[in-house]
Symmetry: C2
Subunit: 301 residues, 2 copies
């Protein structure tokens, strides 16, 4: 994969970035991360992503060796070295390894910071988005917050992967998981929104506090569209007029079918289309953006 | 860490065994594993471990590139190269990476096999076991089976890690998690047993089908001790006469306190002591064992 990474306190081509098989980030899923993106040379809501990353670190009682300003410079350096205008940029903190294999105390581990920038990733390819996504509501349930808190962004995705296996076996484009109680939760890497009579609905709990989700709510407010947060059954989504997914990796992505059945008239929804067009137009204008070049220049200055 | 690993179809010192940060085994916890042990030169229940490993692979619809016989030879070669008499030996299968970043189909990934042998790991040091473990029943809940099936042995341990952080903050030796419904489940890397009036109790569901757990049940049957499997509340464990943990990494490990309060008279339980002594005596006798030397010789033959 083209791209550059920062690992072990140095920069390497992304393909060379590797972690020990003994890092607890691998063997125990004991790592947190955050993904931001660069579009037309500008990071989007970078401070929000870094603030969330620090909350995730704190949620697992881990300490990042770099402060926000240092992280920004590292991320910008990865993007600049990779020469990318549009990039998917991730920061990761892993637990590291036990200092003493006989004591095995988590607080004694030295937490390890990794970052990388690769070409922008679309969880659903743009051409596929034009036709709209067929979203499967799968049987496998999302891990509940009381076991693993989804607001602490983490790699414990096996429930999501099982959901994805199920949706791919069914020939659907992607998967939406329900909580054990049967409420709509989220999918692998995205939040879910749906609309009925120009009101938007999205799950309140047991989901990632998505930055794109937050952006959708802000855009909706500006457009005078009401957003209702709550615990909704699967049929609420199935009976929607329109729906979409939100993610840093793809933006606002239209859903036109749920479990194979068309929503509304089966075309991309009007509200979805408006939100999606506004999102990308504003991003191209540099809305809430931080130019990569500014951060790289700062470092050189 | 002293030891040898098998990765990318070759043998390397364990310290050099690394995986790409883009392997879905890391970024999505999409990997399965199994851990077996070698004591006095013999693997224990190796066929059982490998059979469970293949069930875990199938549970995630992954295909191991090696069959059981090849895996045995690889594991034995890791132990032999490391020159270990007593070893902790792990086999891992990771999802690998997307063949096509635009399609992102899980079934198109090439699954990757990793194995290693390192000096035997005790999740609780033997000297600590003599005094008995203080086990904390923590607030963080175990992920339910409907989200992530614990019988598919995996690295999605964040719930267990959060439990461990909680127990270590409380000054306890280890953590026991309950299911969301409040039944005793398991801890980070072990099953839990407790006894009252010479009957053993252990959770039936939402736990790993532990090989040491199975061994305990077989030894108990031979000793004429009844084992009851069920959904038990935390107070069943708190009110036990004695208790212990079972794990490949430590065997049968006495618990003498739960949430800081002594069980029975606070000493290692009689039944626990009998089971523990029998387990280690039999293992030293080569019970259900496969000598490492036989597998290495087979390869050379």
């Amino acid at each position: 994969m083209a791209g550059w990474a920062y690992i072990d306190e140095g920069f390497v081509p992304a393909e060379e970035a590797k972690i020990s098989i003994f890092d607890l980030g691998f063997t125990r899923g004991d790592a947190v991360y955050d993904t931001t993106s660069v579009w037309k040379g500008s990071f989007f809501r970078l401070d929000d992503h870094i603030a969330r990353f620090f909350r995730s670190c704190a949620g697992m009682r881990m300490t990042c060796p770099h402060d926000a300003e240092a992280i920004k410079r590292i991320l910008a350096a990865c993007v600049a070295r990779a020469g990318l205008e549009d990039a998917y940029v991730q920061m990761i903190l892993t637990r590291g390894r036990f200092a003493n294999m006989q004591r095995r105390i988590l607080s004694e581990c030295t937490n390890r910071f990794i970052a990388y920038a690769v070409p922008y990733i679309w969880i659903i390819a743009p051409e596929k988005q034009e036709a709209g996504i067929d979203l499967a509501i799968v049987q496998n349930r999302r891990t509940p917050t009381e076991a693993i808190d989804p607001t602490v962004k983490n790699f414990n995705w096996m429930d999501l992967e099982r959901g994805l296996l199920e949706s791919q076996a069914r020939g659907a484009d992607h998967a939406c998981l329900l909580t054990p109680a049967g409420h709509v939760a989220e999918g692998p890497g995205f939040n879910v929104f749906w609309a009925r009579d120009r009101t938007l609905y999205t799950p309140k709990g047991n989901v990632l506090d998505g930055i794109t989700r937050r952006t959708v709510m802000e855009l909706a407010a500006q457009m005078g569209v009401k957003v209702e947060l709550g615990d909704f059954p699967a049929d609420s989504l199935r009976g929607a007029d329109e729906a979409f997914l939100s993610s840093t990796a793809g933006g606002i992505m239209p859903v036109t079918r749920v479990d194979g059945r068309p929503l509304g008239n089966g075309a991309v929804g009007i509200l979805t289309g408006e939100l999606r067009a506004t999102y990308w137009r504003r991003r191209e204008e540099g809305w809430l953006g931080t130019p990569v070049a500014d951060l790289v220049a700062e470092k050189a200055a």
